[in-house]
């Protein structure tokens, strides 16, 4: 904590990483949805 207080730039880095985590979760969700569609197409073929 003390390290972060003295080197505030790492807080900025943590915040950028959090934003990326959020976008990553959205992609995971999208991926799951598309996989389900693929599975349905596969079943009927």
């Amino acid at each position: 904590m003390e390290f972060l207080e003295k080197n505030a730039i790492y807080i900025v880095m943590i915040i950028v990483l959090i934003v990326w985590v959020g976008i990553f979760f959205y992609l995971l969700n999208l991926d799951k949805r598309i996989k389900n569609v693929e599975k349905e197409i596969g079943d009927k073929k």
Partner: protein, 235 residues
């Protein structure tokens, strides 16, 4: 394809500039940021934290817009568009809350202190959390789309108030509060032209990114629904 390359380069530039450009007492050169009392190096999170809040507003606006379109035309594709927008809206709303809380830990000493800004975003999370609960509780597609559209339009009425008005007219810790000695809305508090440039580039970049993610989101929803309908017809 061109705009995707443009978006990539823009976000690269914003990330590099936002993190590495130095903060100095008297900015002389084009790449130097001004020193803002009380914010210091932390001020740089404005390039990443504010766009998430901005996207929350855009996303919830698109939710209300396509809800309205759905109610007029009764086209389920519009419902998919509004759902994809709301999904992104809630993700960015959570991101704005979490990134804000991390910053608050170092700027104010605690992750959460019920500042007007934090209270209002918490209320927004509850309002839109209820929207998802409402959707998942209704089985019939048309009924779900109609009810959630009405809710989304009413819910959006609160967004400008919670994001733009309330945190500015009340005293609080967040930059841009009524008693903020740096004065003025968050956007122009002692930013120099260079900082504003990077800030607006960041807003533009994140907005394009949002529309890309949204398009992928609603397309996948629409194709899924189309496929389900075809499978139903074929039996």
């Amino acid at each position: 394809m061109i705009w995707k390359i443009f978006l990539f380069l823009l976000l690269c530039f914003v990330s590099i500039a936002g993190i590495t450009f130095p903060i100095v007492e008297n900015p002389q050169r084009w790449y130097e940021f001004p020193f803002i009392k009380g914010l210091e190096e932390n001020a740089k999170i404005i390039f990443f934290h504010v766009p998430t809040a901005w996207l929350t507003v855009i996303a919830f606006f698109m939710t209300a817009l396509y809800s309205f379109k759905y109610l007029r035309k009764k086209n389920l594709d519009d419902d998919a568009k509004s759902y994809a927008a709301a999904q992104l809206g809630i993700i960015f709303c959570i991101l704005a809350t979490v990134t804000g809380a991390v910053w608050a830990k170092f700027a104010w000493g605690a992750f959460w202190s019920w500042d007007p800004r934090q209270t209002s975003i918490f209320a927004l999370l509850l309002i839109y959390g209820a929207w998802f609960a409402l959707r998942s509780s209704i089985e019939s597609e048309e009924k779900r789309a109609t009810l959630s559209s009405v809710y989304a339009i009413i819910a959006f009425v609160t967004v400008p108030f919670f994001i733009f008005v309330m945190p500015r007219i009340m005293t609080g810790l967040h930059p841009g509060s009524a008693d903020d000695t740096n004065a003025g809305p968050v956007i122009d508090f002692k930013m120099n032209a260079n900082m504003q440039l990077i800030f607006f580039l960041s807003l533009i970049g994140f907005t394009i990114l949002y529309f890309w993610m949204w398009r992928l989101g609603y397309k996948s929803l629409i194709y899924r629904d189309k496929l389900n309908k075809q499978l139903l017809i074929r039996g």
